[in-house]
Symmetry: C2
Subunit: 205 residues, 2 copies
């Protein structure tokens, strides 16, 4: 499985945002919604081997984390508004108070915690962190096959705490070329590199 962990420093953990003004009302949750499409959807199908975590650090409801698993996800649509409606419904649900992930819709879970819940959930997946100044992923031998997790910052990048936690866990920094890209493009590039190494994808309708 391939896991993408998108850390939204100010992305709202509350359902109280406007679909008509996502960038202005949600702490740039729109960035994270686009990451969901990039990680989960291919032409006419869902990547059944992909999981996305959205770590939401904004609003008084934070931290909360939404997990979307391709194995079970249904009704995922590629457009930003549809994904916004979906996440709004999810965030309106109260997650379990124990901080564990609880399934709230097909393929979608919610936890009332942030990065630590994700790290617990990932088990012993190999960790990678997207970093503009890091060595190119095309030269990274450890990529492909098995369980991997890729940490992606939002438009603000990573906060110092996240960066140091990932570093202490031995997450390998990987880069994507000479231009600083949007988070969703980073996910597209990592997914394609994995596709090439793992052969034909396992996307299903």
């Amino acid at each position: 499985m391939r896991h993408f962990v998108v850390v939204g420093q100010k992305a709202t953990a509350s359902a109280d945002f406007l679909l008509d003004d996502l960038p202005g009302s949600s702490g740039r949750l729109d960035v994270l919604l686009r990451c969901v499409r990039a990680a989960m959807l291919v032409s006419h199908g869902v990547r059944r081997d992909a999981v996305v975590y959205l770590v939401l650090g904004g609003s008084s409801m934070a931290p909360r984390t939404v997990k979307i698993a391709g194995t079970d996800a249904a009704f995922l649509r590629p457009d930003e508004r549809s994904l916004g409606i979906l996440i709004k419904k999810v965030l309106a649900i109260s997650g379990p108070p124990d901080g564990q992930f609880a399934v709230v819709r097909p393929g979608i879970s919610l936890a009332q915690r942030g990065l630590d819940a994700v790290l617990e959930d990932l088990g012993d997946a190999r960790l990678f962190v997207l970093d503009e100044r890091a060595p190119d992923l095309r030269g990274e031998a450890a990529l492909g096959g098995g369980d991997s997790a890729f940490f992606v910052g939002d438009h603000l990048g990573f906060d110092d705490t996240t960066r140091s936690v990932l570093s202490s866990l031995g997450a390998r920094p990987i880069g994507l070329g000479p231009v600083s890209l949007h988070a969703e493009d980073a996910i597209t590039l990592v997914s394609n590199e994995l596709d090439r190494r793992e052969g034909a994808g396992r996307a299903g309708p």
Copy 2:
């Protein structure tokens, strides 16, 4: 310059679509809007060396083509709704009756024609066509530097006429790996390959 030509078989050429239901009301113009983001925007900046053409084949107003040029584009925002608002305003304008591109907003032009207007505008740019079954772009020697144009189908792919016109012009088919991807991901992958070959990007704020 790098040019991306996105051919929307049924994407509406009319301003008469709903921002609240882009996929359902616009012939999947949402696909093309996401292509604009992928081609034009990077982290905190616009790709000044990129041009996007949206060839709109849907509605009784078709064919029309919107051209967005990074050299002059202003106020481009990454979220789908903002891009939808922008294109809606552009499509509400009457283009010149002679079928030439006319600038209607900073960096944005409109023509009352389809693919033939684009081909005329491209001059002697090298032509490439994204094709799932074609040889990998990573092995394509002719890529990078100079004027290139990449033709990308929407969720319906290319119609037969477009395919045969591009073939007769010698457009080189290039592929992107083993998985069939969304048009916007194809653009992200081509852009990244060009970035790598051309060195540090020329994105500006």
